[in-house]
């Protein structure tokens, strides 16, 4: 005996829940199968979500979603050995405009799951889907252990770890060059201390992007009572390091440890991130009876300073839902790709297509931050006779890289950002 639904969604992350939400709204019977103990338990992410898709599709969400803080301060910092160079940007309030907020993804997903369940979607956790089922080349359901589920449409929203797609040969294993590892620690610091140390009001949050010659890229997000600190390192270099050590190293940095002093680490997580960008996007994220949404399809926008996945996941979920409503069972869901193109998502990915290449350039993370640190150190060290900027630059560059190379990298970086 097998059960039959209009749609079966594999994965209860932002993309999967979003498809389920929009289809249930249109009267489809939907079942969502989640591998973790509950939606979001397999997700790891930094802490920031862009609000525009929620504004568009979940009216009134600002009242009851588990928002931690609204991001009002953006910072870009280079961690030198003991010091830190930062550029800060203060955002004024944009109450209904497009902005971003910090959140625990697991809580946001719990909230989304409750919205989805209100629409009578069946959400089954702790279920590992073993394979997609096909009949005459058309996806017609899934199998989990002994049990099968039949459906008119199958939505693959399995996230960055694309086991199911790989099993069916729809997607290759990503090369280590396209994979980064995100490790994150959540530290309980306390609301008052966070406000004081980061210069924030009660509802105001900080999003800080870190560049370090030691470990690469990292981030800091402030929650209400917690600070989320993380490092994203590529497997292609730094492959001798281990996640916990990297985080430890970050926490021990004098400038960072000041911010976290007295805090209690309450959560540690590590996860694969596909950073491949446009090149990693599935060329055909659909077929007869199935569509692929969110991270699984490669819908991650890496602008170099921010990595955006959750908003694209929600958006692609909505588009997949629309494609399903416009496609008869058994047909190719090619409308989905058209909708993705029309939405501007594909263009955005194209625009930033060189970012992953730049980020895999070791000079960006290692040599230049080091150089900037030396430069600033020379400028601000109080010697008997001050140096000119030019002298400082020359001294800093000495023996490291040529000025021409520096200029070339700079040019390439500017062009692709």
């Amino acid at each position: 005996m097998s059960e039959k639904y209009d749609v079966v969604v594999v994965g209860g992350g932002p993309a999967g829940l979003s498809v389920a939400y929009f289809l249930a709204d249109k009267g489809y019977t939907v079942v969502v199968l989640e591998r973790g103990l509950e939606p979001g338990s397999k997700n790891v992410f930094g802490g920031r979500v862009y609000s525009y898709p929620l504004d568009k599709y979940f009216p009134g969400w600002r009242r009851d979603a588990p928002i931690e803080r609204w991001v009002r301060r953006e910072m870009l910092s280079i961690l030198c050995r003991e010091n830190m160079a930062s550029i800060g940007y203060q955002l004024s309030r944009k109450p209904d405009g497009h902005d971003s907020f910090t959140v625990f993804l697991s809580r946001l997903l719990k909230w989304m799951a409750s919205k989805v369940e209100e629409k009578n979607v069946l959400l089954a956790s702790n279920v590992r889907v073993d394979e997609m089922l096909f009949r005459d080349g058309v996806a017609c359901g899934v199998r989990a252990g002994e049990d099968k589920i039949e459906a008119e449409y199958v939505v693959i929203a399995e996230g960055a770890n694309t086991l199911l797609l790989e099993k069916h040969g729809l997607r290759g294993r990503p090369s280590p060059r396209d994979i980064a590892v995100g490790v994150k620690e959540v530290v309980r610091v306390g609301r008052e201390k966070i406000n004081e140390r980061f210069g924030l009001g009660d509802e105001e949050g900080l999003a800080q992007f870190l560049i370090s010659p030691v470990f690469g890229g990292g981030f800091i997000y402030t929650m209400k009572e917690y600070v989320s600190v993380g490092v994203v390192y590529r497997l292609s270099f730094n492959n001798h390091v281990e996640g916990k050590d990297v985080i430890e190293e970050l926490r021990m940095h004098p400038e960072i440890s000041k911010l976290l002093e007295g805090g209690v680490p309450v959560e540690y997580s590590a996860h694969i991130i596909r950073e491949g960008g446009y090149k990693d996007l599935m060329s055909k994220p659909y077929g007869k009876g199935y569509v692929v949404v969110g991270d699984a399809a490669g819908l991650i926008l890496n602008t170099g300073f921010t990595v955006r996945g959750v908003d694209l996941a929600i958006e692609s979920g909505r588009l997949a839902a629309e494609a399903i409503t416009k496609t008869s069972p058994g047909e190719e869901l090619s409308i989905y790709m058209d909708l993705l193109r029309r939405s501007g998502i594909i263009d955005a990915l194209k625009k930033f297509k060189n970012v992953p290449k730049i980020l895999s350039n070791q000079r960006i993370y290692v040599e230049y931050p080091d150089l900037i640190c030396k430069l600033l150190d020379n400028i601000y060290s109080v010697d008997e006779f001050p140096e000119t900027l030019n002298e400082s630059l020359k001294k800093a560059v000495k023996g490291k890289t040529s000025i021409i190379r520096l200029l070339l990298d700079l040019l390439m970086t500017v062009r692709s950002l």
Partner: protein, 253 residues
């Protein structure tokens, strides 16, 4: 035969974190069903499969985690589930929880067997089953490592520090089971989906006519054991590590 299994949402101690002052961060610790509660459900479901028992679970407290736990019980094969709505379920005294369960059992019963997990790791260790038994006024067979129903009798074995006790009695009975009793089944996709569609019944403590008395909790702190935490690595200096042990054991340190 009717079987009731009270289940408890407990703090997952393995994931408990502490403030630097030693205060545990109870509010953010994950909650889960106790391991021995799962074994209790498994015993109930086996009685359903072998002896056509009607199986019921009950839990005290009405958070979303409680509802999830009742559905997890459904996914394992339980027929009917109750949530007893009460505020501050984690501050309830064991004797209050026992009384609530006893009243619920009287209202929705009678039950031939009430099977509980012997001990939860957080607070009401090994006392809830006995409390329920004496509130209802039926005998208990406690902390059993195996349970059988043979020709109208419950037969159970309990391994204790001084030996093995073998109990035999006719229902009605309260039985508490340890995690040795069985290997709880893992729900399948089909049973999980079925569990989602089943009704979860709700009762308030007013409906049960229970009045709660409070015992005040002053504070909770991490148990700070003043241990020395001196560790020697035998791979560095084997002889010295062993010598250190010898000195400790013959009392020369």
């Amino acid at each position: 035969m009717r079987v009731l299994t009270p289940i408890k949402l407990t703090v997952d101690i393995s994931q408990l974190k502490y403030e630097s002052s030693g205060e545990p961060l109870i509010d953010i610790a994950p909650r889960k069903m106790g391991d021995s509660d799962k074994c209790a459900i498994e015993e109930a479901v086996r009685l359903k499969e072998k002896h056509n028992a009607h199986t019921v679970v009950v839990t005290v407290g009405s958070t979303p985690d409680h509802e999830r736990m009742v559905r997890d019980a459904y996914a394992m094969g339980i027929d009917e589930g109750y949530i007893i709505e009460v505020d501050g379920h984690e501050n309830l005294q064991a004797v209050n929880v026992g009384e609530i369960i006893a009243s619920m059992a009287e209202k929705t019963g009678p039950y031939d067997l009430i099977i509980l997990g012997a001990g939860s790791l957080d607070t009401h260790s090994y006392t809830l089953g006995p409390i329920v038994a004496s509130r209802i006024g039926i005998p208990i067979i406690a902390s059993v490592d195996s349970l059988n129903y043979v020709e109208g009798y419950i037969e159970a074995k309990s391994v204790m520090e001084d030996g093995t006790y073998i109990y035999r009695s006719k229902p009605p009975l309260v039985v508490t089971v340890t995690t040795e009793a069985n290997e709880p089944r893992i729900p399948t996709l089909k049973t999980i989906l079925k569990s989602k569609k089943m009704e979860v019944k709700r009762l308030s403590i007013e409906q049960l006519g229970v009045r709660l008395e409070k015992v005040g909790l002053v504070e909770v702190k991490k148990y700070i054991i003043q241990r020395k935490n001196i560790v020697w690595d035998a791979s560095e200096d084997f002889e010295k590590a062993v010598d250190n042990l010898v000195n400790l054991l013959v009392g020369e340190v």
